[in-house]
């Protein structure tokens, strides 16, 4: 009798503990599901935040119409022949990296108009151009950079291109520039064309820069 009572007690305790173990497992499983939901919600909110931080879009590049430069503009060909930059006669050559072309207009040592063409050197792609350019600005010589607009699938003379309009502040002298920067893929070579002016002078020189980009040609 005593042994039976003892067995019953042990059996009861075993049942309670086993039930507790099962309940704990189920509860934990649903609990981890619950923590998974906020996790995925957090992931969604990160995506939304990233989407929210995207630039205004193509509006900043609605002016783009590929076409020939004005008749009185000059032309310079990138060494290697991969691209042709057209620029107004008021600009003159500027010092730049070997293998690139730079034309500009300065006053009292201040660069007011800057055009540059550089062959593709790094990881530039048509689809990743906006990310690349703004990232490169802050990696290189800007303390801050802001993407004001971006567009892909633009038809340049000779090939497709992706462009950004952005503004940045240089690390040295904290100069604030606004630029159009495009990555354009030609049949034989890809290149980057940059057209920049101090942000405060955009109203004055912006249309000239746009015209230079419109007339940019790749081969």
């Amino acid at each position: 009798m005593r042994i039976q009572r003892h067995r019953a007690l042990i059996a009861g305790a075993a049942t309670v503990i086993a039930a507790g173990a099962i309940a704990a497992s189920v509860a934990f499983a649903s609990g981890s599901g619950a923590t998974g939901s906020p996790g995925s919600a957090a992931a969604h909110s990160r995506v939304a935040a990233a989407a929210g931080s995207r630039p205004a879009g193509r509006a900043a590049l609605n002016w783009f119409r590929a076409g020939p430069a004005p008749a009185d503009w000059h032309q310079v060909t990138l060494p290697g022949g991969g691209a042709v930059l057209s620029y107004p006669p008021s600009l003159s050559p500027m010092t730049g990296d070997k293998g690139t072309v730079s034309e500009g207009f300065t006053r009292s040592g201040r660069v007011l108009v800057y055009l540059n063409v550089t062959p593709r050197q790094g990881d530039e792609t048509l689809s990743g151009w906006a990310h690349f350019r703004v990232g490169h600005l802050t990696d290189d010589d800007a303390s801050s950079a802001r993407l004001d607009g971006a567009a892909g699938g633009l038809r340049f003379r000779g090939g497709p291109g992706s462009c950004v309009v952005d503004d940045y502040v240089t690390r040295v002298h904290a100069n604030h520039y606004r630029e159009i920067a495009c990555f354009v893929r030609g049949a034989h070579a890809s290149s980057v064309v940059v057209a920049a002016t101090p942000a405060a002078d955009w109203a004055r020189y912006g249309s000239l820069l746009e015209r230079a980009v419109d007339s940019y040609a790749v081969r």
């Binding site: 075993a14 981890s32 010589d141």
Partner: protein, 81 residues
């Protein structure tokens, strides 16, 4: 003999309870990385790009070419730092 069996069941149940809790806690961190890879992968690719940028290519200011972009002038179109 039967009593020993019951004790074995009891012991097994305790082990099951401990395992259930321990296993759960090890799966919790696993759910965190599943939401973070997009972040880490993009930063990794940026780092890789930065590494690539710093090697080779057209010489920059450090190479003595005197271009404007590291002297407060507009940035050129180079893909290297």
């Amino acid at each position: 003999m039967t009593s020993r069996r019951l004790i074995a069941i009891l012991f097994g149940a305790v082990i099951a309870l401990v395992t259930a809790c321990g296993g759960g806690s090890s799966s919790a961190p696993a759910s965190h990385p599943s939401s973070s890879p997009p972040h880490s992968s993009s930063s990794a690719s940026t780092g890789a790009a930065a590494k690539q940028k710093s090697s080779g290519g057209i010489p920059q200011n450090g190479g003595g070419d005197h271009d404007s972009d590291n002297n407060g002038g507009p940035s050129d179109g180079d893909g290297n730092i």
